[in-house]
């Protein structure tokens, strides 16, 4: 396709504002998918995406659109995830585009992720087409949404298109705007091939499938190319695009997005943001993007120690399609052999766990999540600790620094007090308060990352009855008075439950954890003592009393089948518990402590 007829754009928005639903509509209207193939959130192809109704991975699709002017355009769309854990997917997607469709839910208005994503798009000088979606909702407030576009984002309100992805309203207008307003790709001026790697996935037959945006030159099978960052040379085997399934094309030309396959076996060989160029006539690298690093760490252990190798193999498989996920072997006194895993956030952690359980049928437990602490020892050496088990004894520690984030909370005026209280409860400090419009404010604050991991977002949602939202960016480290909280079960420290907390919060957390564990550990033949301790000092204690007997029931001929089935079920349940010393701890306990 000639460059003048190509448009590359991402769809960005706050979570749930309707990106995927609108993408589906565009695919349908352009005839990329037929009415028969149409289903809700078609692009959310993973089971987990469908079930949770959220997008986890960015999805590129190529559409052909016959515009009102009679000409046919190639539209390359990338649907992006809205959740903050996956915001790196948004910035990568944007780097392959000249424009962005910004979706704003007419009932919710501009929210924290809207602001964050607009800033990403503006930083890359993209053309933004604002779309006010869900205008079919009875409580849609279009004038207010428009006002917010102007006031908060400095986007002229009269450029906004009113739409309902659900009802199919405004779709034609959006397509025309894409053609009219988003500029066609412009060559970079380099003399030969330049293609930006912005994503990849693993296919059992094809190996690594690399998503690329061609900026200069063309990509076609047989071409010898070089990956500038890794220095690797490969021959292009196949190129193509998505509709949304991959389909083979003859070549990808300047301005187009699509994929390529080559003899690449491991996703690690392809770095996101790398530039692919012609081996014989190398061109300079395109500006790449910042590498992402996992922020949250947790140990994953098989319930049955015999499943270790199995778990290892499955983690490797997961990583093939999830480059943000990292793992390495570790051992735990209580849990045996497992893996230390790094995640982008708690949702990412949850998703990986759930996929292991469901797609791979694994019984696993996860340890309490931790961030990376920077520990300066008394001898001046610096140590990074992402596992409470490896925190040195207090007398060797000179200081501990913890990661902090800059959090942006948008909330209705009447909730300012609640939000201030919440932020201070989370050891944060509000830097400034900005009036967004007549009804809402944005609080910018610095908050320790470990405090926002567990329930910060949920609390905002519930305190504001759904009207508050939040986004954050990493903001370095600060020195804090952190201590290690140990949880002991019958005198044995269970490292899965240990965590590093601020001294002021240690006691409360210890009590809450002990109470929660008492609730979730089933009674056993022996009394089970649950203790919370800081540096050997017990600060909370609970006891799960001993089970003294089973029920003395009659059991005659007619009762046997039913009783046997009941006993079989209980026996099965016990197998799914982790034996820690002499105590059986169910899988749920490891999940429940997160909610303590």
């Amino acid at each position: 396709m000639d460059v003048a007829h190509i448009r590359n754009f991402s769809i960005i928005a706050h979570i749930d504002h309707g990106k995927t639903t609108l993408s589906d509509r565009l695919l349908h209207r352009t005839g990329t998918i037929s009415t028969r193939e149409m289903e809700d959130q078609l692009l959310d192809s993973m089971d987990l995406e469908k079930e949770r109704g959220i997008t986890i991975k960015a999805h590129p699709v190529t559409m052909l659109y016959r515009a009102a002017n009679g000409e046919t355009y190639e539209l390359n769309l990338i649907d992006t995830p809205g959740h903050v854990d996956f915001s790196y997917e948004v910035s990568r997607s944007l780097s392959a585009c000249e424009g962005a469709l910004l979706i704003v839910d007419a009932a919710q208005g501009v929210e924290a992720q809207t602001v964050a994503n607009v800033h990403l798009a503006m930083k890359q000088n993209l053309t933004i087409i604002p779309v006010i979606n869900k205008i079919d909702l009875p409580h849609a407030n279009v004038p207010l949404a428009k006002q917010q576009l102007e006031d908060i984002l400095a986007i002229p309100a009269d450029t906004a298109i009113l739409a309902s992805a659900k009802e199919g309203i405004g779709i034609d207008e959006i397509l025309e705007a894409i053609v009219a307003r988003i500029p066609p790709p412009t060559p970079t001026g380099a003399g030969s091939l330049q293609a930006l790697v912005f994503d990849s996935y693993f296919d059992t037959y094809k190996g690594v499938v690399t998503h690329v945006r061609v900026f200069n030159g063309e990509l076609k099978p047989g071409l010898q190319v070089k990956l500038l960052h890794s220095g690797k040379h490969v021959e292009v085997k196949e190129v193509g695009s998505f509709n949304p399934k991959p389909y083979v094309r003859e070549k990808l030309e300047a301005g187009e997005t699509g994929y390529l396959t080559a003899n690449i076996k491991s996703p690690q060989e392809v770095k996101m943001g790398d530039t692919i160029t012609d081996t014989r006539h190398p061109a300079p690298a395109l500006p790449g993007f910042q590498e992402i690093h996992p922020m949250v760490f947790s140990g994953l252990y098989p319930i049955n120690t015999a499943d270790y190798e199995h778990l290892k193999a499955n983690l490797a498989k997961l990583q093939l399609n999830d480059s943000a996920f990292v793992y390495q072997p570790e051992t735990s006194v209580a849990l045996g052999f497992g893996f230390r895993c790094g995640f982008l956030g708690l949702l990412h952690l949850e998703i990986v766990q759930e996929r292991l359980r469901r797609e791979y049928g694994m019984d696993i437990i996860a340890t309490y999540p931790s961030v990376i602490y920077r520990v300066t020892l008394t001898d001046g050496t610096l140590k990074e600790v992402d596992n409470p088990a490896y925190l040195p004894e207090p007398n060797y520690i000179q200081k501990i620094e913890e990661p902090v984030v800059r959090a942006f909370v948008i909330c209705p005026n009447e909730n300012i007090g609640d939000m201030m209280a919440l932020i201070s409860e989370k050891r944060g400090s509000v830097d400034h308060t900005e009036t967004l419009d007549s009804r809402r404010v944005m609080l910018t604050s610095v908050v320790p990352l470990n405090e926002i991991l567990i329930d910060f977002h949920d609390r905002i949602k519930s305190l504001t009855r759904g009207y508050g939202s939040m986004d954050y960016e990493h903001a370095g480290y600060q020195e804090s008075d952190m201590v290690k909280l140990d949880m002991l079960v019958n005198g044995e420290s269970v490292d899965a439950f240990s965590c590093i907390v601020h001294r002021d919060k240690a006691e409360g957390r210890g009590r809450a954890l002990a109470a929660k564990l008492k609730e979730v550990i089933p009674r056993q033949q022996y009394a089970v003592a649950i203790q919370a301790a800081i540096g050997g000092k017990i600060i909370a204690r609970e006891t799960v009393s001993a089970l003294r007997k089973d029920v003395t029931a009659k059991c005659y001929g007619g009762d046997i089948t039913r009783k046997r089935k009941l006993l079989e079920k209980q026996k099965e349940g016990k197998k799914r518990m982790k034996a820690v010393g002499s105590v059986n701890i169910p899988q749920e306990a490891f999940i429940e402590v997160l909610k303590a």
């Binding site: 033949q525 003294r548 046997i560």
Partner: protein
């Protein structure tokens, strides 16, 4: 040939609050229809039966009228089903009359199991029982006068509202009756009962410590009265004798209920009547629970079996091991091998060891049995042995 027969009589005067058994309020006509169907079912089973034990349970078998009993007993005579060494009929103290008792006795019924449950009138009401404490004493007297020398008394403990004092008093009075056998159960909150609903609603609470104290009290008092425990919930008089099952060396007190012992030894039995279970040649069957449907099927010449299950030999042996351990005698290795074809010492060696480690079991040359502690954890111990 099958030596044991269970007959289910699915009628009760009213539903007790804790009961999840299949039984329903009776109407004379339905009962007549049931009796006819039962007789027909017995006709089908008779050629396979040479009876050593018979058990009429319910429901409330004593609710059947004299005439209805005559019909059943007459048919059994015709079918050569009389003469079992042990023949039990369950009775509710409210429905025992001298005439009925004599009739049963004259046809060879030689054991009666009385659903006493409690001797405290307010608890009886709490349980939703139709009888009073006075009726218990009166009925017991009638049974003795009718010539029953083998009577069981059923008692319940851990009833909501029952104190340790009340339980002691009930135990004292019940044991003073001098019955040959005692069965005792803890209240179980089974789904679909009024008790369960009350528990769910938080109107009653379980008190494990109290239940334990009551159980200890029971074991001591029964032992002192000459009733020896031979199964988790069962006590009987008499010196130890063999069970009567051919070829087994397991020993039980003389007045132990042989019919139930047969269940715990993994023996065969036929079942007749709605919801009755049978276990013959490794196949477990259960009749449908709906009385009218049961009658209809039998009337059309069809068996009323709604469920049947055939386990693998190993699973069956595991089940036999698990439930057999409920008996104080445990499993003599020879008996277990005779019944199941498996040697406990091979397949279950690790489980016996684990049970012993937990203080639940004891192994010696002859066999494996649960300890006093193990009997209290019989369900958990049973789990170890299931396959």
């Amino acid at each position: 040939m099958v030596e044991s027969l269970y007959v289910h009589v699915p009628f009760c005067a009213q539903k007790c609050d804790y009961c999840a058994f299949y039984s329903e309020p009776s109407s004379g006509e339905t009962i007549n229809r049931y009796v006819a169907a039962l007789v027909k079912e017995l006709e089908w089973l008779a050629p396979e039966l040479r009876l050593r034990t018979v058990f009429f349970g319910g429901g409330t078998p004593s609710l059947l009228t004299l005439r209805q009993w005559e019909q059943i007993l007459g048919a059994m005579e015709r079918l050569n089903l009389l003469g079992a060494a042990e023949w039990t009929v369950e009775c509710n103290p409210a429905t025992v009359s001298l005439d009925k008792a004599k009739l049963l006795r004259s046809f060879g019924v030689n054991r009666v199991s009385m659903g006493v449950q409690s001797l405290n009138d307010s608890l009886l009401e709490r349980l939703g029982r139709v009888h009073s404490r006075a009726m218990v004493f009166k009925s017991f007297d009638i049974l003795r006068r009718a010539g029953f020398e083998n009577v069981n008394v059923d008692l319940m403990f851990a009833i909501p509202g029952q104190t340790l004092g009340i339980w002691r008093e009930t135990l004292r009075e019940a044991l003073a009756l001098g019955s040959e056998h005692l069965s005792t159960y803890e209240v179980i909150y089974e789904e679909d009962t009024r008790f369960y609903a009350q528990l769910e609603a938080g109107k009653v609470a379980e008190d494990e410590d109290l239940a334990c104290a009551m159980y200890e009290e029971l074991c001591e008092a029964a032992e002192a009265a000459g009733l020896r425990q031979y199964e988790i919930a069962n006590f009987a008089r008499g010196p130890d004798v063999e069970t009567g099952a051919p070829g087994l060396v397991t020993r039980v007190p003389e007045r132990a209920c042989r019919h139930n012992v047969n269940y715990w030894r993994g023996g065969d039995f036929h079942g007749a009547g709605p919801s009755a279970t049978g276990y013959v040649r490794g196949v477990r069957t259960r009749n449908g629970s709906n009385t009218l449907l049961y009658c209809e099927q039998i009337e059309h010449g069809r068996r009323a079996i709604e469920f049947s299950e055939t386990l693998s030999p190993l699973a069956r042996a595991g089940e036999t091991a698990a439930f057999g351990l409920r008996m104080v005698a445990g499993w003599p290795f020879g008996d277990f091998q005779k019944v199941t074809g498996y040697d406990l010492r091979n397949e279950w060696a690790a489980d016996m060891e684990e049970a012993a480690r937990r203080g639940w079991g004891r192994v010696d040359e002859q066999g494996f049995r649960l300890t006093a502690l193990g009997l209290r954890f019989a369900d958990s111990a049973a789990q170890l042995f299931l396959r």
